[in-house]
């Protein structure tokens, strides 16, 4: 198998940053500020101190994953800054970040909300139209990002 040339490091970096920041938006806005759900809120309802602590631990592990993804994106950017092999436009880079956010919503939503049922977007409703809206947002972000990434200079 021949690996083809390494052509778009900035787009890969943008995707990783989008996934990481999309995860942070989920964790910060949905888990912490609005408290719509926690990582395992469908399995361990956060109505006792023990369950709240347990969810907090797994929210932390989730945030660790988003942090590592963001760090991987930053390291790719730094490597590209030192090599300068790819021309970059704001539009294309922004597109890759939005596409990464869409990827996050699509993959995380499919696995956690619909396949494993570890939590749902609005926990008190269970599996609801909010979960499908979350998936739809993933598709929209992915398409929007792809359109921006495709745009020629």
């Amino acid at each position: 198998m021949t690996v083809r040339s390494y052509r778009h490091p900035m787009l890969s970096a943008g995707l990783l940053l989008g996934i990481g920041m999309g995860g942070f938006i989920d964790g910060i806005v949905f888990h912490q500020i609005l408290q719509l759900h926690n990582m395992l809120s469908a399995k361990y309802s956060p109505n006792t101190v023990i369950n709240i602590e347990l969810n907090m631990v797994w929210d932390g592990i989730f945030h660790l994953g988003t942090w590592l993804t963001t760090a991987a994106g930053i390291s790719l950017i730094w490597r590209e800054v030192t090599r300068r092999t790819e021309p970059v436009t704001t539009r294309r880079f922004l597109g890759s970040i939005i596409a990464g956010w869409g990827l996050f919503n699509l993959v995380e939503g499919s696995i956690d909300h619909h396949l494993l049922h570890v939590h749902h977007v609005v926990e008190r409703y269970g599996e609801s139209s909010w979960d499908f809206a979350f998936l739809l947002s993933g598709v929209i972000f992915l398409l929007l990002g792809a359109i921006l990434m495709r745009e020629q200079e």
Binding site: V3, R4, S5, Y6, R7, H8, P9, L11, S12, L15, L16, I19, M39, L40, K43, Y44, I50, L54, V57, W58, I61, F62, G65, L68, T69, E86, P87, R92, G100, L103, F104, V107, E108, I111, D112, L116, H117, V118, H119, A146, M149, R150, Q152, E153
Partner: protein
């Protein structure tokens, strides 16, 4: 992964799992966190290694 976690916990503690953290670790939690990130990294990795479908005009 779940099976390994179950075997380790059960062999160390007898039948019952010791605490809630290991209990969740050996059920769906580890998949809920790790599986999405694993798939996302796989997607970006494939995108990164192979020629991107998003062309650009190279500056000369």
């Amino acid at each position: 992964m779940t099976i390994i976690a179950c075997l380790v916990c059960h062999s160390e503690t007898g039948l019952a799992l010791k605490n809630a953290f290991w209990d969740t670790l050996s059920t769906t939690a580890i998949f809920g966190v790790l599986l999405p990130f694993f798939i996302l990294f796989l997607v970006v990795g494939i995108f990164h290694l192979f020629e991107s479908p998003f062309p650009y005009e190279a500056r000369k």
